[in-house]
């Protein structure tokens, strides 16, 4: 049933966010530390486990895939609610600082992407061109 997939997704997000908040409390910062990342790991592990036991029905999956497919539209809505005026009118210091930070961070991506985790030699998968 579709709702089972949605519930699994929601449960993962709730547990992840809860752990992220606890982590924030422990570290003494007023923020959610990695909640979404933890939720994603929970979802990946739980769906893998269900699939191994043959219990991940296509309808259950479709409850998760729907929200995955809604990601881009939701991001468009998120973009439409950003404080763009604030960014544009922030003044030269903010503009230059943001711009330089983006340029240098982008430039470092190919450098750091070469770092391998010790003990793992296989190359990472490269995504083929998508049309």
């Amino acid at each position: 049933m579709v709702i089972l997939g949605v519930a699994l997704l929601s449960g993962s997000l709730l547990i992840g966010t809860f752990i992220g908040n606890l982590l924030g409390d422990v570290l003494g910062v007023d923020a959610n530390v990695g909640g979404v990342g933890i939720a994603m790991i929970l979802l990946i592990l739980s769906t893998n486990m269900l699939a191994r036991h043959g219990r991940l029905k296509p309808e259950t999956s479709s409850g998760i895939s729907f929200w995955s497919a809604m990601y881009i539209p939701i991001v468009v809505a998120m973009a439409a609610t950003q404080n763009v005026v604030g960014a544009v009118t922030a003044g030269p210091v903010a503009l230059v600082a943001g711009l330089v930070a983006v340029i240098i961070s982008f430039a470092l991506v190919p450098v750091l992407a070469r770092v391998k985790t010790p003990g793992v030699d296989e190359p990472v998968a490269v995504f083929a061109e998508e049309n």
């Binding site: 997000l13 992840g16 966010t17 982590l23 570290l27 003494g28 910062v29 007023d30 530390v33 990695g34 909640g35 979404v36 990342g37 939720a39 994603m40 990946i44 893998n48 998760i64 895939s65 929200w67 995955s68 990601y71 881009i72 539209p73 939701i74 991001v75 468009v76 809505a77 998120m78 973009a79 439409a80 609610t81 950003q82 404080n83 763009v84 005026v85 604030g86 960014a87 544009v88 009118t89 922030a90 210091v93 903010a94 600082a97 943001g98 711009l99 330089v100 930070a101 983006v102 961070s105 982008f106 750091l112 992407a113 391998k116 985790t117 990472v124 998968a125 490269v126 995504f127 998508e130």
Partner: protein, 253 residues
């Protein structure tokens, strides 16, 4: 007319779905006709979203873009933290845990370096613009990390509201630029595999910028970038008002 307006107001989330659908449809046409498929429709849709946010902000003077217009308040719900997080986690469905483990070390280095680097860049540029007070330099540096780290750090250190606003501005510039620029230069920085997406998320750190930029590039990259960027703000909040502030004070004060 009143009946129409009240229908739209009472169904604000549905209005948002319809509006975003229309924006995406227009983007698909622009992508096919004007750019002959060269620019992805999702990248165009996100840029249209940002333009709408600009007009919403100009029209109302508010901070939530289009959502500040009553008629479009549903866009705020659709693009708000709750649904955004649900959808990001859903993109992890089908992502490979092994790929994440393989890139673990690079991701952690990128995360720490990303926070320190953005902070240093922000602080150095503030210095060039004549700021000398360690609290102000720290606040602007923190804001350059993300627009959440800036104001929280500024409040913790007792910075003035002008500097705090500036730090939010720096973070917003970074976030908006990341959304817009990523799809266009993804190829030239090798952003086409899980490992570089994990590094990208750690270096840039702005979750909204990283995930929107990756979504516009190739949706399959989103979970990998989200994995590291989701830790960035927490790490920034941890380091900026403490270690990084002490470092600035030691150098300047």
């Amino acid at each position: 007319m009143d009946a129409l307006l009240s229908t739209l107001r009472d169904n604000d989330l549905i209005v948002a779905f319809a509006l975003v659908g229309a924006v995406v449809a227009v983007s698909v046409v622009i992508s096919k006709v004007l750019t002959r498929g060269k620019f992805q429709a999702s990248a165009i849709a996100i840029i249209i979203g940002l333009v709408l946010a600009y007009f919403g902000g100009v029209a109302t003077g508010g901070e939530d873009g289009l959502a500040d217009l009553t008629l479009f308040s549903g866009v705020g719900l659709m693009g708000g933290g709750m649904l955004v997080n649900l959808a990001i986690v859903a993109t992890g469905f089908g992502a490979s845990f092994d790929e994440m483990k393989k890139s673990g070390l690079g991701g952690i280095i990128a995360l720490v370096l990303g926070v320190v680097l953005s902070f240093v860049i922000g602080a150095v540029i503030a210095w060039f613009f004549g700021y000398r007070d360690p609290v102000e330099l720290t606040t602007i540096g923190a804001g350059t990390a993300t627009y959440i780290v800036g104001p929280v750090t500024g409040a913790a250190l007792g910075a003035g509201s002008g500097v705090i606003a500036l730090s939010v501005g720096a973070g917003l510039v970074k976030s908006v630029l990341t959304m817009v620029v990523t799809p266009f230069i993804a190829k030239s920085i090798g952003l086409n595999n899980p490992r570089s997406a994990i590094v990208f998320g750690g270096l840039l750190g702005t979750t909204s910028g990283v995930t929107a930029g990756l979504a516009a590039t190739d949706k399959r990259l989103v979970p990998y970038g989200a994995m590291t960027s989701t830790f960035y703000t927490g790490l920034g909040l941890l380091m900026a008002p403490s270690v990084l502030y002490f470092a600035v004070r030691a150098l300047v004060g």
